[in-house]
């Protein structure tokens, strides 16, 4: 009894180890769900890569056609010329403003890749009925918005070949590796600064920005 157990335990351990190794390495070991068919994948696979436009579908659109679609689908929020209504995003302007006190981040001033514009309009716009526009209309809108920003000429035709070639103004100003931590502080405990130098530079008191319309917090306003 004792001896057989002694033999059996290592054997079981080896078998278990082999099973778990197989489980980790072999796709489909659980076997749950269904393998996605090419047709199913085609129906779901909507993404477009910004840098090279991989995933852009067939189709095309002109600036003029884009102006018509824009007037109907976009102008109410983004303004007739992309100037933005209310707090909805501006689509044009801000070129050269990125170092200013109040920079304007738009397709023209900030976006690094043109295919991203096609991808975003296609997946998320118009806001109340996203992903309902045809590929041609999304191409046309992309052409029109690029044209509003003077990034393409008026006779530009947007398609899967032309969009990745559009040179965006801010293309080379992104750093895609995180440089943080960018502050290094030593946790001083005593007399860390001169008490006489401690000065309030900014206070929310009296600024009247904290919402007053959301309940009991109202009465927390400065006395």
């Amino acid at each position: 009894m004792y001896s057989s157990r002694k033999i059996c335990l290592p054997l079981v351990a080896i078998l278990l180890a082999a099973a778990s190794l197989a489980g980790a390495a072999e796709p489909g070991s659980f076997g749950y769900g269904r393998v996605a068919s090419p047709a199913q994948i085609a129906g779901w696979d909507i993404d477009v890569r910004g840098e090279d436009g991989a995933g852009l579908p067939p189709g095309k659109g002109t600036v003029d056609r884009g102006a018509d679609v824009y007037a109907e689908q976009c102008a109410a929020c983004h303004g007739t010329f992309g100037e933005g209504e209310g707090r909805f995003p501006k689509l044009v302007g801000g070129v050269g403003s990125l170092r200013d006190e109040r920079p304007e981040l738009t397709v023209g001033s900030y976006w690094p890749f043109a295919p991203t514009l096609w991808d975003y309009i296609n997946r998320a716009m118009p806001m109340a009925a996203p992903h309902t526009l045809s590929a041609d209309d999304v191409y046309a809108l992309t052409a029109y918005i690029l044209s509003l920003n003077d990034l393409v000429p008026h006779d530009f035709v947007a398609d899967r070949n032309s969009l990745p070639k559009v040179k965006m103004r801010n293309r080379d100003n992104f750093i895609w590796t995180d440089p943080r931590p960018d502050t290094i502080a030593k946790p001083c405990m005593n007399a860390c600064v001169n008490a006489a130098d401690v000065r309030i530079s900014s206070t929310a008191e009296g600024r009247d920005l904290t919402p007053r319309t959301t309940g009991p917090l109202d009465t927390m306003q400065p006395k």
Binding site: G28, S29, G86, L105, T116, D119, R123, K186, P211, M220
Partner: protein, 435 residues
């Protein structure tokens, strides 16, 4: 003499109203929590002898209460009606693409109740039928899969407690102290126990091709919100979750399925998760180029700044919870870091001249909110209360001045600076920044 807030029905109904005086409300809460401390620290107010004598029966002690399943799905007491998420109407163009803030001033632990977890939607909250929801995993994989919710529930399950913070939390205070509120200055962080399946388990099941380096994760909301994630992070500690604090995800948190990317900025924790595609390069989607990138003073921008750096905040006192006269108090706060565990929290009452190390409360978990406290005898003089966290990577929470020196004030995101609360001699509390 202070009126006893529990004395009569009239006072109680007054308290329940939306315009109840703050001082009394906060006295109620503080009274419950600090009875002992106050008695030690200041002269107790003279009480009505009739109220002192037990039994002090209130009406609810001399009647029968509601039966079980009176509320089949429970809810907070009616008198807690002010403990709610709030938004800032002027901040965004519409409520559908907006944020709401968790009421940190009223929360007592490291777990955010599901109804109070902050919200960030890019195209509103979809109400999804789980019977129709599917997750597709495809791209550079051996065996592309389409999984139903039933399928996902069969995989080995795992539960982990993690915070999620929007990188724009505190963004309104980049230029100056703007919001006189803990809720609005820090409320875009929440923490829950998440239950689901490891993303690595799902990726092993489909078989990752060796060229794969990135994953594109996408939601089923109207924004079809999508982000790129490096494969290493996906295989490290990401979770595909269906439950939050023990129950199904709330619709506003991604029901029926969301991604949790521990320690990384909120928007990569894709809600209503419907698709994961593996590829060899990042996608540079709109939400990682036009948004969620950090504009520096020299005009360059940082992209893929996923990590949430260490951050802490004093949650009591705060603008919503002023002090109620001199005496002994317990300073309370929360700390968190995407680097792992909180190692230490220091608290200053004099604007950073001197610091004392606070007590950390167990459990201290990796990439989770951590509670800290420190007793404080307030002498009634003006004070500048602040906290500073140091995480297990040795990273020290910076001041706003140190952050601005590196990043200017246009970067919107990742403001993890030390928060200073100014306490005035009347006990009122204000959001301030120090030079």
């Amino acid at each position: 003499m202070r009126p006893d807030p529990l004395r009569s029905k009239a006072v109680l109904s007054d308290l329940a109203g939306p315009d109840a005086p703050v001082a009394r409300r906060s006295f109620l809460r503080l009274g419950a929590a600090l009875t002992g401390s106050l008695a030690l620290g200041s002269k107790p107010a003279m009480a009505d002898p009739a109220q002192e004598s037990p039994p002090a029966d209130a009406p609810w002690s001399q009647s029968i209460g509601a039966g079980v399943v009176d509320r089949p799905y429970g809810r907070p007491a009616d008198t807690e009606a002010s403990v709610i998420r709030r938004n800032v109407p002027w901040l965004t163009a519409s409520a559908e693409s907006s944020v709401s803030f968790s009421p940190l001033q009223d929360l007592h632990g490291i777990i955010t109740p599901n109804g109070l977890f902050f919200e960030r939607h890019h195209a509103g909250r979809p109400d999804i039928d789980p019977a129709q929801h599917k997750l597709m995993i495809h791209g550079l994989v051996e065996r592309p899969l389409l999984l139903t919710m039933k399928d996902i529930l069969r995989f080995p399950s795992i539960s982990r407690i993690h915070f999620i913070e929007c990188p724009a939390n505190g963004g309104m205070n980049w230029r100056a102290a703007q919001m006189n509120s803990l809720q609005f200055s820090h409320g875009m962080v929440s923490c829950a126990e998440w239950t689901g399946v490891r993303l690595s388990t799902l990726l092993e099941e489909v078989g990752v091709k060796k060229e794969a380096k990135w994953a594109m994760v996408e939601g089923a909301d109207g924004a079809h919100m999508n982000r790129s994630l490096p494969l290493d992070k996906c295989l490290d500690d990401c979770l595909v979750v269906y439950a939050q604090n023990g129950e199904a995800l709330r619709p506003e948190q991604g029901y029926p399925l969301r991604l949790v990317v521990p320690g990384w900025e909120g928007n990569v924790n894709i809600k209503w998760l419907r698709r994961i595609k593996l590829g060899d390069k990042p996608w540079h989607s709109r939400e990682e180029t036009s948004k969620y990138t950090d504009l520096m003073p020299d005009g360059t921008s940082r992209g893929f700044t996923w990590l949430i750096d260490a951050k802490s905040v004093v949650t009591f006192p705060c603008p919503e919870k002023p002090l109620d006269g001199p005496g002994l108090y317990e300073i309370r706060g929360l700390a968190w870091t995407g680097n792992g565990k909180v190692r230490r929290v220091d608290v200053s009452m004099d604007g950073g001249v001197n610091w004392q190390t606070a007590r950390l409360h167990e459990p201290v978990l990796s990439k989770a909110l951590t509670k800290f406290t420190l007793p404080w005898r307030w002498d009634g003089r003006p004070a500048l209360v602040a906290s500073r966290v140091i995480d297990e990577a040795g990273y020290v929470q910076p001041t706003i001045a140190e952050l601005r020196k590196q990043r200017g004030s246009n970067s919107v995101y990742h403001n993890n600076s030390i928060q200073t609360w100014q306490v005035k001699s009347d006990g009122s509390v204000f959001n301030v920044q120090l030079a």
